[in-house]
């Protein structure tokens, strides 16, 4: 990280911000300058060297990092790589390090994290370029290793007939654990994941906890022990619990990991 270049937006005459749109205490006012410092590196380009690049643009009302980065690409630098899909905080594509913390960029308001915003790709995952990482491959690999799908009754259910009932509370609990968007923030924030390339992360353990809770899944704790009863699973977790702090969906990771580890420790002991 040797060079730093600055690209500035052509200055525009900003409309005065109405009083109602004034930034909250500590936030960036509409019309003020913000500076986005992005890590640049294109592995496909021979001779490309990782470096920081700074882009200067104007804070607009309601500006998110999605809007800011799109504007940078359209007006300042067409080569900047990043991933957005839903831009509504539901798909998990745009996780990146924002001022050193993994989070969803699309729902991060620049006024809350500016005026100087440092962006870097998530660690742990394979880098595609600049702010874009290959979370998809990691998630698919982990799902395959953990067999993270519902193992139902081998006897196919007759889908013409009325469905199996389920207690409403249980359905809601399952949904609570099912809300993971596989954004990778928990993995990026995880100490063990930095040291153990095959560590399944909070996302992996949450999946196991979710299927374990589901009576439609016919696996037993012995089966789950085979999948996560190792140092790449529940016993690798150092309980630093940054995963819990950074989860954009507020999944109850702390309790789920602790509970699963207790159950699996019981199995290991037996």
């Amino acid at each position: 990280m040797t060079t730093t270049t600055i690209v500035k937006a052509p200055s525009t005459s900003a409309p005065p911000a109405p009083a109602a749109a004034a930034a909250p205490a500590g936030g960036v006012a509409t019309g003020a300058k913000i500076r986005v410092h992005a890590l640049r590196y294109n592995p496909q380009e021979p001779g490309s060297v990782p470096h920081m690049q700074t882009y200067e643009l104007e804070q607009t009302e309601g500006m998110t990092l999605f809007i800011a980065l799109s504007e940078i690409r359209e007006t300042l630098d067409p080569t900047l790589q990043f991933d957005f899909v839903c831009r509504a905080g539901i798909c998990g594509s745009c996780a990146m390090m924002v001022n050193g913390r993994p989070t969803l960029a699309c729902r991060t308001l620049t006024r809350d994290v500016g005026p100087d915003i440092t962006l870097a790709p998530l660690p742990v995952f394979e880098l595609i370029g600049d702010l874009s990482v290959n979370t998809g491959r990691w998630m698919r690999g982990t799902s395959e290793r953990l067999e993270a799908w519902l193992h139902g009754d081998p006897q196919a259910r007759d889908i013409c007939r009325i469905e199996e009932p389920m207690e409403p509370e249980l359905a809601e609990k399952l949904n609570e654990l099912d809300r993971c968007v596989e954004c990778g923030c928990c993995v990026a924030a995880c100490g063990t994941a930095r040291m153990r390339p095959d560590f399944v992360g909070a996302v992996g353990m949450a999946k196991i906890a979710r299927f374990r809770l589901d009576p439609r899944d016919k696996r037993t704790d012995d089966d789950y022990y085979e999948l996560v009863g190792t140092d790449d699973g529940v016993f690798g977790c150092m309980s630093l619990l940054a995963c819990h702090d950074v989860c954009p969906k507020d999944l109850p990771l702390q309790t789920q990991i602790a509970f699963l580890r207790r159950k699996m420790a019981g199995k290991g002991w037996a």
Binding site: Q44, C86, I128, E147, I159, P168
Partner: protein, 677 residues
């Protein structure tokens, strides 16, 4: 030359593509999915409110069945839908919900006893039946007679995508993530696969398959203001169009969702209104009952969106620096309900606007939402003109939505179409005559042609800026091909879009960075999107009537006499700047539900000469058959169109099957036997 072979090439990794691939895989065929993004990030995820299926478990859904769902859907479509396809759909939707339940979707469930709900702005107590306890629950949605929308809180699409995506992994279906199909490989009569660009390395390769399926979703990004994800650019539509052989149906039929968050366009679900939320104006007045006394906020989306814009045009909008908007008020639903059943809405309001919907109203205005048109197919999902090309879901026009889709019918369509078309794709691959034998020279030609196009963009020295052309296109579409359309605006739109298309041939790049090169991506997609935009705008200009979401101020009547027909667009030559339009008439004499008034919206239409005779025929047949199944068969037999696995009837609390012959462990086959009574 890198060539990848498979049996079924699925372009698009959303719910329709995943489910289709699973169906083919289960029939013993290899399937391979190409996806711009990891499948669980696809736009299917954004379906919040739920999926329509006539289970009739909740008390407000009692009496619901395929017949009611069928009529709601056809009325919603303003009689543009293919009624046989609607029948196939409504019969399969309950099976899809039940299959997904078995695959792990945590559907919200019915709790027996009293509960308080909000109906028409009033708190009402309803009592759920004991025998419904624990079964999949339904909520109310627009344009439906019964509460029919099955849901998982307000993250239904997410939960469905989790389960179906997981099953695709379980079936070991390979997904080539971050790849994009740039062109279909074909010989003018048969499709053989696609030329595909790797969005990590930037290299091209050929994928050859017996069957190729386009399941790429919608084209919302033709518009500036849309609820669609940024990947919904209609590239799947465009590559079908660019064959010059496959047709796109009804591309002018574009849905605007009433409640896009203003001004970002992010969706808040129809479930907000289904659960009792109200639309209010600058004076805090609930205005929808003034326009639609019957269905109020819950008329179909095209009607509600038009009424909202009409109300804003009267000066009743709330002024803001970004323009006018209206309010969605869900405060009356209470914190418990909002935090549990409308949780995504809560999060979106919180993070993007700093609004707490428990206490504050949400600023909304209609935004582009859904592409009713798509790759024209037969009920089997196969193109009638390009053999071996299939399509399903939002990308397709098989055509179950006609000119307006009902809320909850899209995410239902994804899995249902995946189930049905997947079986037809498997049938196709079963037949030896459909083996692929295409000379590699032809494959090389297609690859070289696409590479040459990219090289021309990168090195051709063009001076046009793709991002600017695209932004202008989006501006034109939102301003002139929107909710209210006028002949003059549409003419201007078509003219300027043609200019943009010509200019797009001289796009130049500032960057030649190896790898994905986002600027190059924008460049080639913009060229394709402009053709698609022209297909929408030109279709809208030519259709001189109003039907469903296509509303012409200068032709406000639905005109069945002239326009009860489907638009078919093809793009004959690279040099063309307009699509070639043909029309396919809909045959009233075979309709189960002949055209009439929808039950909401304007009562203003011109009848087709065949309508009265068919209505009389239908009335007589209804008189004759008391049994609803016999009646339906007499009116419009469709059973022959359903794959064998999906023919069975659907059990309900009020329509119990006889006790299963085998007791527990009953298999689908036995239910089919029961069906053939």
């Amino acid at each position: 030359m890198k060539v990848v072979y498979t049996d079924v090439l699925v372009i698009g990794g959303g719910l329709a593509g995943l489910r289709l691939a699973i169906a083919a895989r289960r029939r013993g065929h290899d399937a391979l999915i190409l996806s711009l993004v990891p499948p669980k990030r696809s736009h299917s995820k954004a379906a919040q409110g739920g999926m329509q299926a006539s289970l009739g478990n909740v008390i407000k859904g009692q009496g619901d069945n395929e017949d009611v769902h069928f009529e709601d859907t056809v009325r919603g479509s303003d009689w543009g839908a293919d009624q046989e396809v609607v029948r196939m759909f409504v019969n399969t939707a309950p099976k899809a919900v039940r299959e997904l339940a078995a695959w792990g979707v945590p559907w919200s469930r019915v709790r027996k006893g009293d509960r308080q709900v909000v109906i028409n702005g009033q708190k009402v107590t309803i009592t759920e039946r004991d025998e419904a306890h624990g079964l999949v629950a339904q909520r109310d949605f627009g344009g439906t007679k019964k509460w029919r929308t099955c849901y998982v809180s307000d993250c239904t699409g997410h939960a469905m995508l989790q389960a179906v995506g997981d099953q695709a992994i379980a079936a070991a279906i390979p997904v080539h993530e971050r790849t994009e199909a740039l062109a279909l490989i074909h010989d003018g009569g048969r499709c053989y696969g696609a030329v595909v660009r790797d969005l990590v390395t930037g290299t091209l390769s050929a994928y050859l398959a017996k069957a190729t399926a386009i399941t790429t979703g919608g084209a919302g990004r033709l518009y500036r203001v849309t609820t669609n994800a940024v990947i919904c650019e209609g590239i799947g539509h465009a590559i079908a169009l660019e064959t010059g052989v496959a047709a796109l149906g009804n591309m002018e039929a574009v849905q605007f969702h009433p409640t896009g968050i203003f001004p970002a366009g992010i969706l808040v679900t129809e479930g907000c209104r289904g659960d009792g939320g109200l639309l209010k104006d600058a004076d805090g007045h609930r205005f929808m009952p003034d326009y639609e006394p019957e269905k109020k906020e819950l008329a179909s989306r095209d009607v509600v969106s038009r009424r909202m814009e009409e109300h804003i045009a009267k000066g009743k909008g709330v002024k803001s620096r970004f323009g006018d908007h209206l309010w969605l008020d869900i405060t009356l639903l209470g914190e418990q309900h909002i935090r549990h059943n409308l949780r995504e809405v809560y999060e979106i309001c919180h993070y993007f606007m700093g609004v707490d919907p428990v206490k504050d109203m949400i600023p909304v205005r209609p935004a582009q939402h859904y592409t009713m048109g798509g790759v024209r197919t037969k009920p089997s999902g196969e193109s009638p003109t390009l053999k071996g090309l299939f399509s399903a879901g939002e990308a397709a026009c098989w055509d179950m939505h006609g000119f307006n889709r009902l809320g909850g019918n899209s995410v239902a369509e994804t899995v249902v179409a995946g189930m049905i078309v997947g079986e037809y794709v498997a049938d196709f691959c079963d037949r030896a005559e459909n083996d692929v034998n295409i000379p590699t020279g032809v494959v090389r030609e297609f690859l070289e042609r696409e590479q040459a196009k990219l090289d021309r963009l990168a090195q051709g020295g063009g001076s046009e800026d793709a991002a600017k052309l695209k932004a202008r296109m989006q501006e034109i579409m939102t301003a002139k091909v929107g909710i209210f359309r006028r002949g003059k605006d549409l003419e201007e739109a078509v003219d300027e879009l043609q200019e943009l298309l010509v200019r797009s041939r001289s796009i130049g790049l500032r960057s030649r960075a190896p790898g994905p090169n986002p600027e190059l991506v924008t460049a080639y997609r913009t060229q394709k999107m402009l053709r698609l935009a022209l297909t929408v705008a030109y279709g809208a200009l030519t259709r001189t009537e109003s039907r469903g979401a296509h509303f012409r101020e200068d032709h406000p009547r639905r005109d069945d006499a002239q326009w009860l027909k489907r638009t078919l667009a093809t793009w004959k030559s690279d040099a063309d700047t307009l699509p070639t339009l043909d029309y396919e008439p809909l045959d009233i004499r075979r309709m189960e539900l002949p055209p009439g008034w929808r039950g909401y919206g304007a009562k203003d239409y011109t009848d087709h000469p065949d309508t009265a005779a068919r209505q009389a025929e239908v009335d007589a047949l209804k008189e004759k058959h008391a049994d609803r199944f016999a009646r339906q068969r007499a009116l419009m037999p469709y059973d022959h169109l359903l794959p064998q696995r999906l023919k069975g009837r659907n059990e309900r609390i009020d329509e119990r099957f006889p006790a299963a012959p085998g007791g527990a462990g009953d298999t689908p086959e036995s239910a089919f036997a029961w069906e053939s009574e």
